[in-house]
């Protein structure tokens, strides 16, 4: 059991969610007889949404939850602001058990601490962009002047200047998603829950928004749970990734962990199609100089070789290696520590470290 504290802002301990009238019975049965999702549906008419999930999200990190459609990602994050009550388990936010909050405290927590961006945007069509953005403030009876100022500020943050007085329907999908993001940011929450915020957008706009969000989150340092069904996106955005399948988490790790050491075949299949250029670093694929020299003879002229740092990724290494006969020499603290040959580079691109 993990208790959340300074480091772990959001903690989920053994969270189960089973939909259906006979959820409790079904839970007992699953624990005892280890029923599959299909069997539970058949015997109890219940759907397993989340199955024994424990995660802990550190302060300021972007924690990605990745999984196919129906794997329970949305269900899991909806537990965090208690839009869904768990069948079993607990959620702690800054050490406070969300399940024990009364209605009023829960509302205050939702309004102050947590901002949420939705898969389908869910903007209010009858309100202008500014009014949508300031919605959470309005719910807390903040006066109109303060609201307008706050809205103006976040509108700038998401670069929607000049659109404050339009209606959502007058904006493109990408702009609407920025409004969704701005709305989540308006109350300056500590935690952001983002449920596939960019999934409905075309690849170019998605890319743009991803970059913008990355830049923003570097500055804001908000603890973020970012849901996606796209591993590329998870790798771009996440400092850590949790991969879900049928309501369970099958692996949690850094993007490099996931790509280089997939926990099972399911994850491996996902990872197979992923570009490794930015995920694998020199220290992973280099071989010690001694080993290289034993196999290939003495390195003739170290100065003629291209140099790179241990933390450089494959992409950079490829750049150095192009048009060169010499291998790349990896330096650390100004001293050569390893060699990356072209063969090693090619292996690395294949994902074999």
């Amino acid at each position: 059991m993990i208790t959340s504290g300074d480091e772990n802002v959001v903690v989920a301990n053994n969270v189960w969610k089973i939909f259906g009238d006979r959820a409790k019975e079904a839970l007992e049965a699953i624990r005892k007889d280890n029923l599959s999702k299909a069997e539970v549906l058949e015997q109890y008419g219940a759907v397993v949404g989340v199955k024994d999930v424990s995660i802990s999200v550190n302060k300021g990190e972007v924690f990605c939850i990745m999984g196919l459609s129906g794997s329970g990602k949305s269900t899991l994050v909806r537990h965090i602001n208690r839009l869904i009550e768990p069948t079993h388990g607990e959620i702690l936010i800054n050490g406070v058990n969300v399940g024990n909050l009364n209605a009023e405290d829960l509302r205050v927590m939702r309004a102050d601490k947590i901002g949420m961006v939705f898969q389908n945007m869910a903007l209010l069509p009858h309100r202008t962009v500014s009014d949508n953005i300031a919605f959470s403030l309005e719910l807390r009876n903040v006066d109109a002047f303060t609201r307008a100022q706050a809205a103006e500020k976040v509108i700038e943050t998401v670069s929607l200047q000049g659109y404050g007085d339009r209606y959502p329907s007058q904006l493109s999908g990408g702009m609407q998603q920025r409004v969704g993001l701005a709305r989540a940011l308006a109350a300056d929450p500590d935690i952001l829950l983002m449920d596939e915020p960019f999934s409905a957008l075309d690849p170019l706009i998605r890319r743009g928004l991803q970059d913008e969000f990355l830049a923003l989150s570097k500055v804001m340092k908000k603890t973020t749970l970012f849901i996606t069904h796209d591993l590329d996106e998870a790798i771009r955005m996440g400092s850590r990734i949790a991969i879900m399948k049928d309501g369970e988490i099958v692996q949690i790790g850094t993007p490099e962990d996931i790509v280089t050491k997939p926990a099972d075949k399911y994850v491996a299949d996902f990872v197979a199609g992923i570009s490794k250029l930015k995920l694998i670093f020199a220290h992973t694929i280099m071989q010690p100089i001694a080993k290289y020299e034993k196999e290939n003879g003495k390195l003739k002229d170290i100065d003629a070789c291209p140099k790179a740092d241990t933390e450089d990724d494959l992409d950079t290494l490829v750049g150095h290696a192009v048009g060169q006969d010499n291998p790349v020499v990896i330096m650390s603290d100004g001293k050569p520590v390893g060699i990356v040959t072209k063969d090693a580079l090619l292996r690395g691109v294949q994902g074999e470290a």
């Binding site: 949420m116 209010l124 959470s136 807390r140």
Partner: protein, 515 residues
């Protein structure tokens, strides 16, 4: 020739006897070469017997009914020519009966000949249809079986004799039958034929006779308080049938409520009257020139130039034909009813939309309210509130409220789940959820409800003239009663214009309707 045989084979298998004929006919139907007037002579002659033999029960019933109608006409002819002979001394009766007799004879001949032709024409076509069904499902009747005639005999024996007996007899009057019941009660003997006639061929017989209930009145005592006084029914009055008994009970109940809870109904009446007076003061109390200007201005702002021109023309019609005050009267009634409908319908609609209990309680009531014809609502209104404008408004409110409730509920239920979820995620409480998210998003539906309420109020207010609500409807009902068609038509046009005017403006004014 070989191939021709093969083509006919399934037809023959289906038809059995006379397979050659049916095979060729079906082939023609398939090739679309069957003559337009092709008739199956055997079926035309055999009629329902043919249909029964072939097992086509739809055609059987058609043919059987045709022949039965012809036979009944024949029997009616016989009845009326006998009646003409029986009443020979009364000239006017003879003329009447002989005329009827001739009519029925003609009817019998026409129905018989045309009917048989129709059956003959339908026969092969229906039979082909039956063949197609048989191909899919072999248990469908096929071939020709005389065993089916047994069923025919049973049906004919059950239906034909009674039908013919009924047509050959003059039905006894209800009064005769009541007397007969009395006589039987006293132990007199009544001929079987008369009893049979009363039981079977007249009105449905009265099965129960109930003793008269006590007469109930609600006089006041010396302190002015009402009390219930029961007097046993007067001796010698005949007993009541179920209808009269129940009607009396209902009257007693209503009488009790109005006597002891009169203050309640009076309160409602007073409230309605006050409200109506305030509204009438605006509509009728304003000089026509100002009212007209105001209406035009409102319609211009709400609905634009084109509709304002139409409104202007309609107002001119109403004014020129002397309907101004009456029309304003009607509009006040509509306004009063609509306001009440919205004020009560909206919260009710919210309840229905948000709670399953509300839905399961209110929806059936609304269903019933909407199936009852409008003027039936006048009854309870009159029973509790007597006649005049307040009960008129009340009847109108009951009639016009359902769409408000329904459309409000519908609008709330159609608010996307994820929008509500988003509001909750940002910390909305239930009240904020309702006022800031659900009601605004349901607004188009709610406005459609208001629109319908106004239109239904207008139509009901006209009907409510029957119980003294006045207004344009009064002119129409009066014209109807006195066969003053001209006046009625003019007022009718006025009502139509009024309705169109209100409809256009309300619809255009609804900002969300176009989107």
């Amino acid at each position: 020739m070989e191939t021709e045989k093969d083509l006919l084979k399934p037809f023959k298998e289906f038809a059995g006897p006379n397979g050659e004929y049916y095979g060729n006919t079906f082939l023609k139907i398939q090739k679309d070469t069957l003559g337009k007037f092709h008739i199956n002579i055997a079926a035309a002659i055999g009629s329902f017997i043919w249909a029964a033999l072939r097992g086509n029960w739809l055609l059987f019933w058609i043919a059987f009914l045709i022949d039965l109608v012809a036979l009944i006409n024949l029997s009616l002819m016989a009845k009326y020519s006998q009646a003409a002979i029986d009443n020979a001394e009364k000239d006017f009766l003879v003329v009447r009966y002989e005329g009827w007799s001739a009519d029925h004879l003609l009817g019998a001949i026409l129905v018989f000949i045309l009917g048989r032709l129709l059956v003959g024409w339908l026969a092969d076509r229906f039979y082909y249809n039956q063949y197609n069904k048989w191909r899919v499902n072999r248990s469908v009747n096929s071939g020709s079986k005389s065993s089916r005639l047994v069923l025919v005999a049973v049906i004919a024996a059950l239906i034909a004799p009674l039908m013919l007996y009924r047509s050959s007899q003059f039905a006894p009057e209800a009064r005769t039958c009541i007397k007969q019941d009395r006589a039987i009660e006293k132990g007199e003997t009544v001929p079987f034929k008369d009893r049979f006639d009363c039981a079977i061929i007249g009105e449905f017989p009265t099965l129960v006779w109930l003793d008269r209930p006590d007469e109930i009145t609600y006089p006041r005592d010396e302190n002015g308080n009402r009390y219930v006084e029961r007097k046993p029914a007067r001796e010698g009055l005949p007993p009541l049938d179920l209808n009269k008994y129940a009607a009396q009970a209902i009257d007693d109940g209503i009488g009790y409520l109005t006597a002891f809870y009169g203050f309640f109904f009076d309160g409602i009446t007073a409230f309605l009257r006050t409200m109506l007076n305030m509204i009438t003061a605006v509509f009728v109390g304003t000089p026509w020139i100002i009212a007209m200007g105001a209406i035009l201005a409102i319609s211009y702002v709400l609905a634009g130039t084109r509709i304002t021109i139409f409104v202007g023309a309609s107002l001119a019609y109403l004014a020129l034909f002397g309907f101004w005050q009456t029309a304003m009267d009607t509009l006040s009634l509509v306004a009063a009813s609509s306001i009440i409908c919205v004020v009560f319908g909206l919260p009710l609609g919210v309840w229905v939309g948000k709670s399953t209990r509300g839905q399961s309680i209110v929806t059936p009531i609304l269903d019933i309210m909407q199936t009852i014809p409008s003027f039936v609502y006048l009854l309870p209104a009159v029973a509790f509130f007597s006649i005049g404008k307040p009960p008129g408004i009340l009847a109108t409110v009951i009639f016009a409220m359902p769409p408000m409730v329904r459309l409000t509920a519908l609008g709330l239920r159609h608010v996307p789940e994820n929008t509500k979820e988003a509001a909750l995620a940002f910390g909305a409480n239930p009240r904020q959820l309702l006022t800031k998210v659900e009601l605004p998003l349901a607004l188009p539906s709610i406005m459609a409800g208001v629109n319908q309420v106004v239109m239904m109020s207008l139509s009901m207010v006209v009907v409510a003239a029957l119980i003294g609500a006045g207004g344009m409807g009064f002119i129409v009902t009066e014209a109807l009663a006195n066969t003053r068609t001209g006046a009625g038509v003019l007022a009718g046009i006025g009502i139509a214009l009024l309705a169109m005017m209100v409809d256009r403006v309300v619809q255009k004014a609804n900002p969300t309707a176009e989107k």
